[in-house]
């Protein structure tokens, strides 16, 4: 059964803006919130796309930035729940490159940026015990700040 991810409208706007600003290059960042009563995303943090090569179709996050994201979650009593990135001039469909390094548990939110404008947002999560992505149901609704 598909899982549901609740994203605060301010977070969606934050992701859209990031993707539009970095167009035609991919942006990326971390998503935080609570998993206690459904998956609620209340905080997003930008991170530098450190991919060496063509950032128009690839992104990468350094181990140092990842460790910092874990520290931020622990210090702020948040759950690190996923990653977002943009697909410039591509649909918000998870690619084989997205799948190759996907981890269980995380939500992988993708925003499609067409000619500089955010047009779609989808979220993907590995199926339990399988290396297959399943699309999550995305609900954009006001969430109280943790």
């Amino acid at each position: 059964m598909a899982t549901t991810i609740h994203i605060d409208p301010s977070i969606k706007a934050f992701i859209d803006k990031h993707g539009e600003e970095t167009f035609p290059y991919e942006c990326c960042g971390f998503l935080y919130g609570s998993d206690a009563n459904g998956r609620n995303i209340t905080v997003a943090k930008r991170v530098t796309n450190s991919k060496y090569g063509d950032q128009r179709r690839r992104f990468e996050i350094t181990p140092q930035d990842y460790l910092e994201a874990e520290r931020y979650a622990a210090m702020n009593d948040l759950d690190l729940l996923g990653i977002y990135h943009s697909h410039p001039n591509h649909p918000a469909i998870a690619s084989v490159h997205d799948l190759a390094k996907a981890m269980p548990f995380f939500s992988y939110v993708i925003v499609s940026i067409m000619e500089g404008k955010a047009v779609d947002l989808k979220s993907w999560k590995l199926k339990d015990e399988e290396r297959v992505f399943e699309e999550e149901t995305v609900l954009i609704s006001q969430l109280s700040t943790i």
């Binding site: 179709r57 690839r58 992104f59 990842y66 998870a94 190759a100």
Partner: protein, 92 residues
């Protein structure tokens, strides 16, 4: 005992523990002990040959074990080992 820090996405396999104390003279032995204790971790950390997967980075303190002696890197009683998933992808 050394301490292994478990990243958030793998904590479902460690009964939600973020830190595991483990015996082991090297990274390889410590990982074998870890997956022996938490079987669900094995397929996410190790490949079919028992080697650490290419998209998992391991740090001893602040140092990448690839810059040390890889999985033969010595582990001490007070060592802190971080498991770091590679985060990457892209449109095409």
């Amino acid at each position: 005992m050394a301490t292994i820090l478990i990243p958030t996405p793998l904590r479902k396999f460690t009964e939600n523990n973020s830190k595991i104390n483990i015996e082991g003279a090297t990274i390889k032995i410590a990982f074998e002990s870890l997956v022996g204790q938490y079987e669900g971790l094995a397929k996410h950390l190790l490949d079919d040959k028992g080697n650490i997967r290419s998209f998992i980075r391991v740090y001893l303190g602040d140092e990448d074990i690839n810059a040390l002696n890889r999985d033969e890197t010595e582990v001490k009683e007070d060592s802190v080992i971080s498991i770091v998933p590679a985060i990457a992808g892209g449109a095409a």
